[in-house]
């Protein structure tokens, strides 16, 4: 544990008050330790910025990001409701992690790519995926970018230089490294940001990816959303290292930690990492200390493993109110403006949901498309057999 003196801010109380029941040792790697001296923080509690690390965002940029964060939050809440009503099958959200996701996506340049884990729909939307397409994915309808083949929240957006979501943990990490490495081989100025959770750092692919990227100086930004949990398993069950950032040492990859609920800090460290990559100096690992405010997904109930008490401190660190205090101070943003924004976003969401819900399911024969570039005989045979019927009852086909 970092022995830094306890800071006198409101965050300090959270750092002690939130320590997990039953955890043998409150260690520095735990995200509640956002005050360790090596953690980059910019946005102070009073809404001012630390000039030492201020990324210098314009106020219109900050407002656009605030808007995107609120939009992500509203989407999360609405999609959980839809799942509870049985209208969609699943949702995996980013509540509490909006600053990590949007700050890092924002910091990437236009020619850079993003390889997602599964919690980063806000980054896909930021990169230009239309809201309608995202909601179509939630319904798995015929306009879903992945044609109803994958679960909700498993979208793709190539024209936005955004990868494709897979469920198996960690698989995107080596792929992102290979992608970045290819850009380097082709002498193209493109970096790749790859998202993953703290749990993924235990996977084979994390270690392979870090090692390859280090050896080949692939322009990769490893972005670990340390949100405290891998489903029910807390961070200290994933690693005995003090921090996730320091895992880079073994691979020759510099690591940096930042307050993942501080938009400015996330932008700052991600921009630095991209600049390093662009200079040809290779990969960086960023550990963004954040927190998963909700369950792992709509299939999970965190009450079984997570003491409710620990959450309060994290609710106080919620990235959205923190940014809200900043924009209020700098632009005089009002509650009325928030209400207006929410109403506007809400109307946009409702309209998209109404359209997606009415859009037809993918055609039966679409099941056989894209398995191969061309349809081989056995799939033609199987497709014709399916089309001849009979149909499963009560499933709308």
């Amino acid at each position: 544990m970092s022995t830094a003196t306890q800071p006198a801010s409101s965050l300090a109380s959270s750092a002690s008050g939130g320590s997990m029941e039953g955890s043998a040792h409150p260690v520095a790697r735990h995200p509640l330790d956002a005050h360790a001296p090596d953690v980059v923080r910019v946005l102070r509690d009073d809404g001012t910025l630390d000039p030492a690390n201020d990324p210098g965002l314009r106020s219109d940029e900050v407002l656009t990001l605030y808007r995107a964060m609120v939009r992500a939050r509203l989407l999360d809440e609405r999609l959980v409701l839809l799942q509870r009503q049985g209208r969609i099958g699943f949702h995996i959200g980013c509540k509490g992690e909006e600053a990590s996701i949007l700050g890092s996506a924002f910091a990437m340049r236009q020619n850079d790519w993003i390889f997602p884990c599964y919690r980063e729909f806000a980054a896909a939307l930021w990169r230009g995926m239309p809201l309608q397409r995202y909601v179509d994915n939630m319904f798995g309808n015929t306009n879903d970018p992945v044609k109803g083949r994958q679960m909700p929240d498993h979208y793709t957006w190539k024209s936005g230089k955004f990868g494709s979501v897979s469920s198996p943990i960690g698989t995107q990490i080596t792929q992102a490294v290979g992608f970045a490495w290819a850009a380097k081989i082709r002498k193209e100025d493109a970096a790749v940001l790859v998202y993953f959770g703290d749990g993924a750092t235990s996977s084979n692919e994390f270690h392979n990816g870090m090692n390859f990227a280090g050896v080949f100086k692939a322009p990769t930004v490893f972005f670990c959303r340390n949100n405290g949990w891998a489903i029910s398993v807390p961070t200290e069950r994933q690693t005995a290292s003090e921090t996730f950032a320091q895992k880079g040492i073994a691979y020759g990859v510099p690591g940096v930690r930042c307050d993942g609920n501080d938009l400015f800090a996330v932008v700052k460290v991600t921009r630095d990492a991209v600049a390093r990559a662009a200079r040809g100096e290779g990969p960086t690992i960023i550990e963004a200390l954040t927190y998963r405010l909700e369950g792992h997904s709509t299939s999970d109930d965190p009450k079984a493993y997570r003491p409710e008490a620990g959450l309060d401190s994290w609710r106080r660190l919620d990235p959205i109110p923190r940014l809200r205090r900043y924009i209020e101070r700098t632009t005089g943003w009002t509650d009325a403006q928030d209400k207006e924004l929410e109403a506007e976003l809400d109307a946009e969401l409702k309209a998209a949901i109404a359209v997606s819900e009415k859009t037809a399911a993918p055609a039966l024969e679409s099941m056989f498309e894209d398995v191969f570039g061309e349809l081989p005989w056995h799939l033609q045979e199987q497709r014709d057999e399916l089309l001849r019927g009979p149909r499963a009852k009560g499933h709308g086909h």
Binding site: S167, G199, A230, S232, V233, A304, M367, L386, A392, H395
Partner: protein, 324 residues
């Protein structure tokens, strides 16, 4: 006898064996406090503590590799892979190591453990939470593969698997985790590995099936009966080694066979069963054996009910075979 669903029966088997044999340990992702994402290990953490019910880091290769090590030392590990779709990061450990330990060490190091893993579709899980990869393990020498279809078998087969001297892959059809209910014998109850069960006796067509599709096959058999076709339904229970005797005995009686499985058609276990029937009972066949299976596409999300070989696809195959 108490009524249980599959989840409760498997939990009961684990608890029973952990009480009986303190070498048995459970390990995997989320198996501890939360009791597994399907709650199959619920309550075990409270009873046996964190040295016997172990939440591991998120690494299937790590889970199986360390479980092999534990087994070599003399523990009896029952690792859980959260979904059978996520077994592949551990594939090398299972195929190159676990399956070959006894053979490669001249019998010195029998590595035995039971890998439990939920399998199959029908739960709106998309292709990463719905696959049926059993054939990929059957193809590997040295592994046994089990797939129960009801609570009593689930308990009995799991206890037999844990006590078996060889490594076992124990596939749990998650679509019927809670839907399949029934009486489960209390205490020590084993079902021998390698023995199929004839769930329905019949004269005209043999249906070979396992796991969740058993209920679809029975439904189709009942519908066929209304048309005067009397089906015999065989639930394999142990997929490998196969109870070929029960199958052949039945085929010799009916002369007609339909094999049903969720996994894709090509190179599936269905193909192997048909080949064995051809080798051992060719002259008894009255019709070409048929397979009703998943398609050779990745498992789809929205169209999953069209992908699965449900009764509406099994029935026409029965009729076609019967009328051939």
């Amino acid at each position: 006898m108490p009524q249980m669903n599959m989840v409760q029966a498997i939990n009961d088997a684990l608890r029973h064996e952990m009480r009986r044999d303190n070498r048995v340990v459970v390990l995997g992702e989320d198996v501890g406090k939360v009791g597994g994402v399907f709650r199959v290990t619920q309550g075990l953490f409270d009873e046996f503590g964190d040295e016997r019910v172990i939440d591991t880091p998120l690494s299937e290769g790590g889970i199986i590799g360390t479980a092999i090590g534990m087994a070599l030392y003399g523990l009896v590990p029952v690792p859980e892979i959260q979904f059978s779709d996520f077994i592949f990061p551990a594939y090398d450990q299972i195929v190159s190591e676990l399956a070959k330990y006894r053979y490669r060490s001249g019998g010195e190091y029998p590595a035995k453990l039971v890998i439990r893993t939920p399998t199959g579709g029908g739960i709106r899980g998309g292709h990463y939470h719905s696959q049926s990869p059993e054939a990929q393990f059957i193809h590997v020498a040295g592994l046994k593969v089990v797939c129960p279809s009801n609570p009593a078998d689930a308990k009995g087969l799991l206890l037999a698997s844990i006590r078996d001297p060889d490594p076992v892959l124990f596939f749990e059809p998650k679509r019927i985790y809670r839907a399949a209910k029934g009486e489960v014998p209390e205490g020590d109850h084993t079902v021998p590995l390698g023995k199929a069960s004839v769930v329905r006796k019949g004269q005209h067509v043999t249906i070979v099936v396992w796991g969740a599709m058993l209920y679809e096959a029975l439904d189709a058999a009942n519908q066929a009966a209304a048309q005067g076709i009397d089906c015999e339904v065989i639930d394999l229970r142990t997929l490998w080694p196969l109870d070929i005797e029960t199958i052949i005995t039945s085929v010799k009686k009916t002369g007609r066979v339909v094999v049903v499985h969720e996994a894709p058609k090509s190179c599936g276990l269905g193909g192997e069963i048909v080949a064995l029937i051809n080798e051992k009972a060719f002259l008894h066949l009255e019709a070409p054996p048929k397979r009703v299976t998943g398609f050779d596409t990745p498992f789809p999300y929205t169209l999953e009910m069209e992908y699965l070989p449900l009764s509406h696809r099994i029935l026409p195959a029965i009729i076609e075979t019967a009328r051939y």
